[in-house]
Symmetry: C2
Subunit: 338 residues, 2 copies
């Protein structure tokens, strides 16, 4: 199970990816192949499809006991597993086209459970205009879902993590911490009590702004973009590391989730949720100041909020509401953190 | 764990795939999309890449406790998981290009185990000339590997399962039952005894004839092709169902694995291994008699054996060594079989 927010950590996931891609013949950024444009290290790989378009591909796993519990609604597991994978396409500004599903499940779940799972996945597929074109089914003791997604961008328009430059403004879409709030409610057993369903919804059915992401890419506004999957503090650090820059963000600018008074009283901190909560699947992007002015013409399916700016210091700094500033540790989702 | 060979069964995996692709917006055979040529229902999906080439994509899972045991050599798990996925590309006659790896593993396996796993996968990647271009790492209680593979064929040359016609000859490559023999040795605990390593090798490190498959496709010899992953009796039934035909094969023609006398004495039956043993990852293909003559000019990295011919009866018939014939039930690997 994804855990509540804990202490700061090294980014072990990035380290493991780096180790694997050193050990296995692999291709990273800056195409050293005829058709590969971006490889290991970004949200998705980018391949030249035709002179007019590029293909963007990624894969994502959703595992019982890690990303969801066995008693979660089956339709939310179907919906969210496709949404999570599709979010990597949105992060590049791509239009989803097709997906493959590798599903492993116990025989006992091949009846009603599988029907509900398929209904949820179906709803996500219709929202994203993405079609199932293949996959693989195995039997296993627990449910394992791996989804491969393929999308398309106009040639050269896929947005990498690595283009942020000092002076660029930093933006996020949607509310920060909404999915983590839902998870906290589930983890603490409050979901069986009186918490309104709407607080759980962003955890079970995250909304992925695929059309906003494409509009941003088509207008060539973002200098760098990724999805906020592991929490702002962790993902912003990754974007800055990939771009070789730092960032300064303002606590009072963060579009934090609204926490009901009853949960505030129980110690839920909206700022911690916004800074470190994972799985919102909104966009984190940067834009030069002059290009950011064009944001007001973008047709949006989620609000866009400016939260700070890129610096040349290589540090991630948080300016608190009282004007103090401090270094912002990565405290988001970090499965192998110590 | 994949089980020893059991009784005949309905093909529940094919049923589940059909149910899922009815429930989820999906695309099957006969492109109803600008770029999709083959979707759900074959070894891999085929997409039009350019006027000159098509892309072939597939994915495959390897799960601890299902496809391998936790005490298997880590390098064999890395090797075989990529070989299994790449076999779906070979089945279409495609040249592997790139792969994505979604890996979930316990923190305790991120050290030496992961290094050995990467070494094995690396060896497979070099053999297939395939490059890692992305993926995803999660933490989980047991090892879960999902690999997405992308390959290429000259435009229109990907070989489907569905093209077999009555009168076509049926061929397989390599030895049948070799991987199952290795698995039986492991399952019965004989691997700790004196069984020579070479009997285990096809189970741990299956050889995928990717270059032979491409040569066959380029020469346009096969009318239908797939890989033998779940056992000849099951996979031949699938090829025949997709093509709307039947088949007649001869027991004395099967290129059965050689079983050492000590294991023959313990009841291991080479014919049962050849008919129903899974995971050989050789090719099963059909060809019109006139095209089959050109097989002798094919440069091969595995032997090719004619085992029978396609009939119009929709039945799968085995001709025994004594001349009797009987219906051949599907007794290969069938995870959800009852």
């Amino acid at each position: 199970m994804k855990k509540a927010i804990t202490t700061g950590h090294r980014d072990r996931e990035i380290e493991l990816v780096a180790r694997l891609s050193q050990a296995i013949p692999s291709i990273g950024h800056i195409g050293n192949s005829a058709s590969l444009i971006t490889g290991v290290g970004d949200d998705a790989a980018v391949l030249r499809h035709s002179p007019r378009s590029d293909w963007v591909i990624s894969c994502d796993s959703s595992l019982e006991g890690v990303h969801f519990q066995s008693d979660y609604p089956a339709d939310s597991i179907g919906y969210k597993s496709l949404a999570r994978a599709t979010s990597d396409l949105a992060a590049m500004g791509a239009q989803p086209l097709y997906f493959l599903l590798a599903l492993a499940l116990p025989a006992a779940k091949t009846g009603k459970w599988l029907r509900c799972f398929a209904l949820g996945m179906s709803r996500a597929a219709r929202e994203f205009h993405s079609f199932l074109i293949g996959g693989d089914i195995s039997k296993s003791a627990s449910v394992t879902i791996c989804i491969f997604v393929l999308g398309e961008t106009p040639s050269g328009l896929a947005i990498p993590r690595s283009g942020a430059r000092p002076g660029d403004l930093i933006f996020v879409t949607g509310k920060l911490g909404a999915a983590q709030l839902g998870l906290e409610i589930v983890l603490r057993g409050w979901s069986r009590q009186s918490s309104p369903k709407r607080y759980l919804y962003p955890h079970f059915y995250p909304q992925v702004p695929v059309y906003l992401a494409q509009a941003l890419a088509r207008q060539r506004i973002p200098s760098a973009m990724m999805d906020v999957s592991d929490g702002l503090s962790t993902d912003l650090a990754r974007l800055c590391a990939a771009s070789g820059v730092g960032a300064r963000i303002r606590a009072d600018a963060l579009p934090s989730v609204q926490v009901p008074a009853a949960l505030l009283a129980r110690g839920i901190d909206p700022l911690a949720l916004a800074l470190h909560g994972g799985e919102d699947y909104g966009l984190l992007f940067t834009a030069p100041r002059k290009d950011a002015q064009r944001l007001r013409h973008i047709r949006r399916d989620a609000p866009i909020t400016q939260i700070g700016e890129i610096t040349s210091t290589r540090k991630i700094v948080l300016i608190h509401r009282d004007g103090r500033s401090s270094s912002l540790p990565s405290k988001g989702w970090n499965p192998f953190g110590k």
